[in-house]
């Protein structure tokens, strides 16, 4: 699970070091990598949780008051 983090920081590190050698535009690649590694670590945590979509912080309390999150957007037409 920590691999996602290692990929984010390690990959960004490799690309940053390469940047002066093979062109500064690869900083954009490093930025993208860090962004997506953030998403991947959320994905990992979610996949490791009990129902595949949980929050590890909620699962230690016995009866967690789950909320189904946030406000509705884009629900103009219902089926």
């Amino acid at each position: 699970m920590m691999a996602a983090q290692l990929v984010g920081t390690g990959g960004a590190g490799i690309l940053i070091v390469l940047a002066p050698l093979s062109g500064w535009e690869i900083l954009d690649v490093a930025l993208t990598l860090v962004m997506l590694a953030a998403l991947a670590s959320v994905g990992f945590v979610k996949a490791a949780s009990g129902d595949g979509a949980g929050d590890p912080e909620e699962e230690d309390s016995p009866a967690p008051p789950l909320r189904q999150a946030g406000k509705d957007i884009g629900t103009e037409a219902d089926g």
Partner: protein, 312 residues
């Protein structure tokens, strides 16, 4: 640098081996993410930064999250865990043969005289400085137009898998988030930053590496983080506004194509005078569509609480 390249290639193969031979699917995905990183660096070394961006965003990012979400959905359905893979000798032999054949093909192929001079001659008429963007949105616009249709077809295919009872539920599995927790805080801080990064990539795509696909993928990732952290609730399939967002890219493309026909330069051929502005407009519309489509593809068909897997 050749030592760096050799090490990189060895690492790619080692990680791919671990992906195939790993103990369970969770580990396989871990290695797949690392694999995506290395392949992305390989594209940088091959002097294809546009592809490196796409691989970093899609290969190492969205695809892995798609598989992780797949594991989560299998777990919801109480599917039994997988076992390790026994060695399959005939398959191993056949695949070694396949690799050997491809390697032979590499050394047997005649050296082409590339890049073809036509592209360099045509670049002044493209309207953008990034040659890859010019190819994608102008010279080979047919490919990209049909690709947006493929994306839509895949999304329709995914939505066809929805159970009848879930049709009006929000897309994807219901996400549980502790209010005020770390995850929900992250879901508020990251999206604005990520949105900036995505828009920057699209904007950069006209003159340097980047573009609608890369920027759209980052925006899709932002949407996915927001959805998984509970900042926003995913929309329903029936939501009209989101349906418009899905098709606006293909629509803009078609409109530009028809405009090219009317202005006399031929269907999907942008007249030189308006090429720059037209590409920017297409690119913005395309980014919206790609971002929404990819995010919906990764979220999967709607599933409502409690009925996951019990309906059969």
């Amino acid at each position: 640098m050749i030592l760096f390249d050799a090490t990189l290639c060895a690492l790619i193969i080692a990680v791919a081996l671990a992906t195939v031979a790993g103990r369970d699917s969770f580990r396989a995905i871990v290695f797949f993410i690392v694999y995506g990183l290395f392949v992305s660096v390989a594209w940088v070394r091959l002097d294809a930064v546009n592809v490196a961006l796409a691989e970093a965003a899609i290969g190492a990012g969205l695809t892995a999250v798609l598989f992780l979400a797949g594991i989560g959905r299998l777990r919801r359905a109480h599917v039994q865990a997988d076992q390790s893979v026994p060695l399959h000798l005939p398959a191993a032999l056949a695949c070694t043969g396949l690799t050997a054949a491809l390697g032979w093909a590499w050394f047997a192929l005649p050296l082409p005289d590339r890049p073809a001079p036509q592209l360099a001659q045509a670049m002044p008429q493209a309207g953008v400085e990034n040659a890859v963007t010019a190819v994608l949105l102008n010279f080979r616009a047919w490919d990209t137009l049909l690709e947006t249709v493929v994306l839509l077809a895949a999304l329709i295919g995914v939505w066809m898998l929805t159970r009848d009872g879930n049709w009006s539920a929000p897309v994807g599995v219901p996400q549980n988030v502790r209010p005020g927790g770390i995850l929900s805080g992250f879901g508020r801080v990251l999206p604005p930053l990520g949105f900036l990064v995505g828009v920057y990539l699209v904007y950069a795509g006209t003159s340097r590496p980047g573009g609608a696909f890369q920027g759209g993928t980052v925006l899709a990732a932002v949407g996915l983080v927001a959805a998984m952290a509970g900042t926003v609730r995913p929309p329903r399939i029936m939501a009209t506004g989101w349906r418009v967002a899905l098709i606006i890219g293909s629509l803009a493309f078609l409109l530009a194509g028809v405009a090219g026909e009317l202005l006399g330069s031929g269907f999907l051929t942008l007249p030189v005078a308006i090429a720059g502005n037209a590409i920017l407009a297409i690119e913005i519309a395309l980014t919206v569509s790609i971002a929404v489509t990819l995010a919906f593809l990764v979220l999967g068909p709607p599933e409502s609480d409690g009925s996951g897997g019990s309906a059969s």
